[in-house]
């Protein structure tokens, strides 16, 4: 049986563009996620659902509480192809559940990029997570969800 996890659209003003008279909302799609730790489970964190991300990205103090199997070290590269804009990460296997106010998925295992800084948001990418879900997204009607299973 499949389970449906609600997602949330958030529109942001872009203050940098607003100052220049360019007005359009920046739209993000959020989900919520709990991580398995060595002692139990975290509470739910808001996370950006990023269909452009091959893997999840987790900040240091969040993944360091998790029950994680470290696999390798790596360098995360973003939109700017310069060495100074890259981010050193570890690659590791985590266990998590996707949640909303009422429902939780079964446990999911994902290989994630584990940042060495807290200055990154939680990003939800494909490996282990989006690849095992069906994403429904209807921004005009402000409705989005993941179906799992």
């Amino acid at each position: 049986m499949s389970i449906r996890i609600d997602l949330y659209f958030k529109e942001f003003e872009n203050p940098d563009l607003l100052e220049k008279g360019v007005v359009f909302p920046a739209i993000r799609l959020f989900t919520q996620i709990r991580f398995k730790t060595r002692k139990g489970w975290t509470d739910a964190y808001l996370a950006i659902l990023d269909t452009g991300a091959p893997t999840c990205v987790l900040p240091l103090k969040i993944w360091s509480e998790c029950d994680v199997v470290l696999l390798a070290d790596h360098t995360l590269r973003g939109i700017i192809p310069k060495e100074e804009c890259s981010l050193p990460v570890l690659v590791g296997k985590i266990t998590c559940v996707l949640v909303d106010k009422e429902r939780e998925s079964d446990e999911l295992e994902a290989i994630a990029y584990l940042a060495m800084t807290n200055d990154v948001p939680i990003l939800i990418g494909f490996q282990g997570l989006l690849e095992v879900t069906r994403l429904y997204m209807d921004y005009r009607n402000k409705r989005a969800f993941l179906e799992i299973g």
């Binding site: 942001f12 872009n14 990023d50 807290n118």
Partner: protein, 75 residues
């Protein structure tokens, strides 16, 4: 291991934090904020520290901790 349910206030506070995100971008850019009873009770660079400070201040166990970007990023 059993997963403890978060109380309804947790979800309300998390939603409230998201609803006011633009305000937090100005006040707490690139910080992790802790929200209790629709109030920001801690803002730290470290999410675990934000939780610790918030727990000490409020005595609450389940506290939403939300990362606040300072600008709109493309990841």
């Amino acid at each position: 291991m059993e997963r403890e349910k978060m109380p309804s206030e947790f979800w309300e506070d998390q939603e409230w934090a998201l609803d006011h995100y633009e305000k937090w971008m100005k006040e707490y850019p690139y910080h992790w904020i802790a929200v209790v009873n629709k109030e920001v009770v801690a803002a730290e660079k470290d999410p675990e520290k934000a939780r610790k400070v918030a727990r000490e201040k409020t005595g609450k166990r389940h506290i939403p901790i939300v990362y606040i970007e300072g600008h709109i990023h493309v990841y």
